[in-house]
Amino acid sequence: MNFTITKVQLFLMLFFRSTGIIFIGYPETIILAGGRDAWIIFFVGSLIVFFQLWIYEKLYKYFELGKFTAWIYIFIWIIVLIGSIIYMQYNLNIWVQQNTPHTISLVLMLLISFYISVSRPSTIINLPVFIIPFIFIFIIYLLFSIPELSLNHLFPIGTSTGGQWMKGTMVAMAAFTGLEGYLVLRKYVLPEDKISFKDILTFQLSITLFIGFLVIVTKMYFATDALPYVTEPILYILKSIEVTFVKRLDIFFFFLWLGWSIISFGLIVFNIRIVYFKQKRKHKIWPMAVLHLIVFIGSVGIINIQVMEFIRNHFHYFYIPTTFILPFIIMLFNRRRKSKCAEL
């Protein structure tokens, strides 16, 4: 695995990795968890993540995975992969394909991801670029819902309870799941591409504005009591927007989301690939085939509402251990060891 990336590519990958799979359903989760102040909680959570990223940048040199920690991460990422593919498949069944067997669509999606994973690294590094124009189209179409938005839904401020704040902050940070990829990929950035405070700020601001926009639109669109009945609020909003030339925007944007998610899925696989191929390995293709097979077997039998609700209600518990605690333990541990070595 010999490659270099620019900082633009690094941030693009992180953006699409984090927003990828969750963005159509995320606003509902955070609003239900955080109550009326959810949108403020989200910005607060994003601020915390910003400082976390900043510390990452200071310490990334110490993030070196040993054999054991590497396998822990690979295991965690496989769990994330299985969860994502279940979520994608379930939504595919709900929104468009009621009768197509799970296996067919799962195999097709995994085949694409497999194809990406055996291509050269630059393929997956640059794939997110294809989504960029669609983000703008997506936002423009969401803006069509402005006449139905009501500012009244955002106020009054300060009604969420302490418990809501706690849980809300956790969910807010979960919007940035996958930031551990920053530590994995940071080393491959061209040395002449210095990442400054401003770069991190720009990145964090853009991802916050994008998801924050979705949260606010959802909050302003739905009545508080109507929201719990809806599963993917963004698609619901798109479904009820009236434009003259096409009737069901949600179908197009569902497939945009699916493409986005497959690329995001590929980015997680890419993380696994980097960590796994750090040691010299004999085979290049087989491990990837096995990985996709594991994901397939792990997901194919359990695509139902019970698992879905479990994923929806628990995905935010992933963030703190994997993106917060574990990296910091590794970095601090390595730092101490290095300073000790220096002393000797």
């Binding site: 839904h153 009545a223 109507a226 479904k239 009236e242």
Partner: protein, 362 residues
């Protein structure tokens, strides 16, 4: 091996085993649905265009059953093609059905991802059957006819904009209520829009506003759409003078105060207008304009007061006053008990009309 694989791939192309395929040509595309009765005994009518030469020709299927799905399956049995509601434009509900619980009747549409959320809902006076078996020739395909019918009223700020999704949203929110178009037919001639059916939560209250009152609800609650026109007859010293105008802008300010246990709310409305009918002319003189403005202000205030009264009596907050109170005066808001407060509120409107343009004559 390779040949076998090729054969398999090619032959699979010719199989019709494309799981989710629903060939458009094999479906009866329903454009209007009418529903009578309530869960336990539902009767529904499904209209779809039948002739390729004359789009105004349509067929009405009827179905009977205990649940909404059962009715659709029953109707399906009577059609040579499978019926499909993905292109649905309008759903008509008998007012008696809506009085019981509208949401329960609509669940079947919300649950299916295929159903269009942009379809309009209307409440009919009496059985919906009459609205689907129109004897007169309509200018368009029936689905488009009802859709455009309601849409044109929305454009003229007479009805607030609604569709299936907005309706669900409003039925669930406490601080604002749903208002749906109310249509009526005498049996002869085409159906007529009669006003706005007021909802309280998920139920129709049985009260409907007039067209003019409905227009004020729309202006106050949702703002002016593309156009807003009003017309009054001024009885000035025994002389009947038509006064018509269209609203250029509609600006409102709300003032909320607590008087005892009551909430007092005053709308201060600023409304520049352009005159569209005024036979006595001479609008260039301020002396002439002032009394007209006064007259309009008074009439509108009177009409609005009537409208507020009607809404409060029906316990239907179609304007969305509750949302305002909750957002900006949270101390006055009581979760779950809004309607009790709303009933006793004192709502007033102060209108300030300004003739800004006189039209192309003075």
């Amino acid at each position: 091996m390779r040949r076998a694989l090729m054969f398999f791939v090619i032959s699979s192309l010719f199989l019709s085993g494309c799981w989710d395929q629903r060939l458009y040509k094999d479906l009866a595309i329903i454009s209007v649905i009418g529903v009578d009765g309530y869960i336990g005994d539902i009767k529904a009518y499904y209209a779809y265009p039948s002739s390729s030469d004359d789009p105004t020709q349509y067929i009405v299927l009827d179905g009977k059953g205990k649940t909404a799905r059962e009715v659709r399956m029953d109707a399906n049995n009577k059609s040579e093609q499978a019926i499909d509601i993905a292109e649905l434009t309008t759903i008509l509900f008998n007012e008696d059905t809506a009085k019981k619980n509208l949401y329960k009747m609509l669940d079947v549409y919300y649950r299916s991802a295929q159903s269009p959320m942009t379809a309009k809902i209307a409440i009919t006076d009496g059985s919906v059957k009459r609205y689907l078996n129109l004897k007169e020739t309509i200018p368009k395909e029936i689905g488009e006819y009802y859709l455009d019918f309601i849409k044109s009223f929305e454009d003229y700020s007479i009805y607030p904009k609604t569709n299936l999704e907005i309706a669900a949203n409003l039925m669930f929110s406490e601080g604002v209520d749903l208002g749906l178009p109310y249509i009526k037919t005498s049996g002869k001639g085409l159906p007529q829009a009669k006003g706005l059916a007021l909802f309280n939560g998920q139920k129709y209250t049985g009260v409907h506003l007039t067209q003019r009152e409905s227009q004020f609800v729309t202006l106050l609650g949702h703002g002016k759409a593309n156009f807003a026109e009003l017309s009054y007859l001024w009885d000035k010293d025994g002389e009947q003078i038509p006064v018509s105008f269209s609203v250029i802008r509609f600006k409102k300010k709300k003032k909320v105060a607590q008087v005892g246990s009551k909430i007092k709310m005053t709308y201060e409305i600023k409304m520049p207008v352009v005159m569209t009918e005024y036979p006595p002319d001479h609008l260039n003189k301020k002396k002439k304009r002032d009394p007209i403005e006064k007259f309009i202000e008074k009439r509108i205030e009177k009409d609005m007061a009537k409208m507020f009264k009607k809404c409060q009596d029906a316990e239907s907050d179609v304007i969305g006053i509750g949302e305002e109170i909750r957002a900006y005066h949270p101390n006055l808001w009581k979760e779950g008990k809004w309607k009790e407060l709303y009933k006793d509120m004192e709502i007033k409107a102060k209108v300030n009309v300004q003739i800004e343009r006189s039209g192309s004559t003075r």
